[in-house]
Symmetry: C2
Subunit: 541 residues, 2 copies
Amino acid sequence: TRWWTPEVRDAVRLKKESYQTMLACGTPDAVYRYRQAKQACSPDGPGGKNSGPGRSSIDEEVAKLLELKAQLGGEDGKHQFVLKTAKGTRDYNPKQMAIREKVFSTIVSCFKRHGAETIDTPVFELKETLTGKYGEDSKLIYDLKDQGGELLSLRYDLTVPFARYLAMNKITNIKRYHIAKVYRRDNPAMTRGRYREFYQCDFDIAGQYDAMIPDAECLKIVHEILSELDLGDFRIKVNDRRILDGMFAVCGVPDDKFRTICSTVDKLDKMPWEDVKKEMVNEKGLSEEAAEQIGEYVSMQGGMDLAERLLQDPKMSQSKQACAGLSDIKLLFSYLQLFQVTEKVVFDLSLARGLDYYTGVIYEGVLTQAGVAQVSTDTQNGTPTEENVSVGSVAGGGRYDGLVGMFDPKGRKVPCVGVSIGIERIFSIMEQKAEASAEKVRTTEVQVMVASAQKNLLEERLKLVTELWNAGIKAEVMYKKNPKLLSQLQHCEESGIPLVAILGEQELKDGVVKLRIVATREEVDISRAGLISEIRRRTTS
Amino acid sequence: TRWWTPEVRDAVRLKKESYQTMLACGTPDAVYRYRQAKQACSPDGPGGKNSGPGRSSIDEEVAKLLELKAQLGGEDGKHQFVLKTAKGTRDYNPKQMAIREKVFSTIVSCFKRHGAETIDTPVFELKETLTGKYGEDSKLIYDLKDQGGELLSLRYDLTVPFARYLAMNKITNIKRYHIAKVYRRDNPAMTRGRYREFYQCDFDIAGQYDAMIPDAECLKIVHEILSELDLGDFRIKVNDRRILDGMFAVCGVPDDKFRTICSTVDKLDKMPWEDVKKEMVNEKGLSEEAAEQIGEYVSMQGGMDLAERLLQDPKMSQSKQACAGLSDIKLLFSYLQLFQVTEKVVFDLSLARGLDYYTGVIYEGVLTQAGVAQVSTDTQNGTPTEENVSVGSVAGGGRYDGLVGMFDPKGRKVPCVGVSIGIERIFSIMEQKAEASAEKVRTTEVQVMVASAQKNLLEERLKLVTELWNAGIKAEVMYKKNPKLLSQLQHCEESGIPLVAILGEQELKDGVVKLRIVATREEVDISRAGLISEIRRRTTS
């Protein structure tokens, strides 16, 4: 039961043996003979580079031995082991899992309501599958060690594996969801729900369809999910990569700076405009004038009317790209009206998602301050703090018509649009809500505990619980020969088990079971034959 | 949209530039001057080791350039990209996912019926968390690349992370399940369901309880799951690490050879006894006599009676360890009788699971030949083949009382027993069953398709599908302005959608929807107000 690695254990055994030999023989000569004997059996043969040690090498050996002993943690032989999960990752305990499953179930129901299938892909991909897809973020990809064979990386999102899957299987039409963990070597901010291992819940529609219909359905889905999860008020920001690119062009941003200026604009939700502008001008070498013009546009927010106005804008309308994007925004809003979701959707020219692969409409679902603050209290002093009221982006996505083509040997395009639900922030909020709520989160679904008040009834308890299990009842029994009734009842209170089936000599004689309702402490005798239907009757809600 | 890595792109650009310079200037001298100019700006400075090239180095450059061009796939600029998943891994398509979810749901229902909570742990652990837990299998662990920071490895199973979780959170009692992927750099045999990335479904009971009660429940769970999945006949083999160790001792195996002889015995389900014996004697240096004695024991199979007989065995009874194990096997069988599962359980002295951490009872669920062969047909010629009728271990587990203590700074033990369902082989079998079956696997749950027979009804379709979604009905609409009715109906046939809600000018005028039952082609007009309840009535099974 002691803790050490096999390497250390082997080294210590060897050192110990040689040490004991030294002690037993007492002389360097004996050590010399011991070594000679050992080397005679070793692949190096006798007379290798280590033969013929002097007194100093014994001292050396002893020093190493003492060092190893110290590493083992002294007399008690305990290794000083760091007991933790990897940086930026966490375990989910049963309570967190119960919340997680509730959230997943809401999201999956929505995806299924919209007719999605589901797929799964491996957690790692060939490294080259991920290369060139994420722009500046590529440095955050986790690589696997080269252990011979292929070079592999952990997936960074679910979108690139999805595109690889479509190209590999020559699929041109699919509506699928995929819920799985992705990996980013980012700076973790765990209190705000930013982890290095985190879930994404993606819904994507691939296929050549009429403009903006699938795009609008993605926004409808974000609207449904954020409403059903009841996270407080939210907004869905919409923009289009073509509008951004057109805007950069008409503002005089050089072509080769579009992407880098775009990722600076992307910081507008975290940084004030002045700082964003400084970064553009001082770090990225943009002219003051161009930055000013961008500044005017990115402050604009609105709906279909704004798109209409910008189509008339003398400068913006010079860009064909921008006009195509603006027309599509108009069309998108017309569908969103039919879907009854426009009241939450904002056309926002400052929205500029970082990923390289977007080609058309982009969007982001954000919880608005009030909604989050309502459920966020610092666990230390009960007041909302900057840390946990920060407004979060909880969904994002867009159109990426070029990604699948990057994987196809003939470059055949499959237009795609999708959305990813940023589930970790949602978990954080739901957990805080659960903490604040009086209602206890159950982590099991056990309907009945099979208990006994007297000794020597283990066999009878096991027989009864078998009957219940075989009938599909969720049931537990304590793994003790003679548990105390009190501890059996306590377990029910703690786990929220609603019923206890109590056996005693008298009940066995009478062919009944005493059914105790935990909440009311009421007890009723039920005939053995009627027990299962009685439990079902009392536990189906 | 072209495919190449940034590295290749950069290299090519550089080569192109230098090639163009060469071509433009036409002389080695010009190249020399170009290089000098370049080096003057480089960190190496002028006169570095590459200065002053001759004609040969130009040829060299040109050759490299041509090679790079070839790598890019010739004139069309396409990179010859290998479109595949990593070795030993696979994607799951929607049909496979539908089967997978059905299997998971059966397994999870069973775990929940037995009152288990669930937890989750990260996909990677600190490397040292995994060290020294898997014996000879440690070489199969995937390591992550050292990108600065902690050394990490992908989890090899769910048991070691579970033990780490218990020690880290000082949990002494829990009954939990965990379903997640694990990673082993093993030789894949994908047709037999052996992958490098695969699911494990683990159920474990941690806590200090009376002997064999939780152990028996684990076997009951294996019995329930294998019965419910309906995979054909099966057996559950049982043995005990202490019986194996005691047997090795009384047969004259030296202490330090227990583990290695144990892993040779573990091969008995894949190799005939003669080969196992050869490995023991020739490779592991065991005496012929000891091997013979082991051979006699490991051929023994039985029930409680065999345990009783071995307790009387003059040789075996000399080992205290073996006697403790044999008494526990007897006790285990007595509980299994109460659980009504003994007819499938065999006490088998040849069962020797490989993992280092087992300390007591061990078990394995195997499908027996007949059951598997029944559903296994070679996809090429329709006959059962050696490859896919191979009898599989589909569940395994045992008691590991020392593992948690290895993580606890004070070595505090938490006794544990658990079982892992080997889900990949089960998937393979279920997939083959689904192939063979006439019943179509549905990959979505869509209840109704909103369709139109006439043009210009996109808006009306979107309005209606919104009504349905908002009422919780699973519904689809085609993403075309004017889809053909036939293609809408075809989609329903292919996806198994049972109902079509058809809109036309007349229906809109009359305030009705034409509801078509796909299976019977029957069509009925339903008032718009009554549509939702009619769909619910017709699709709740």
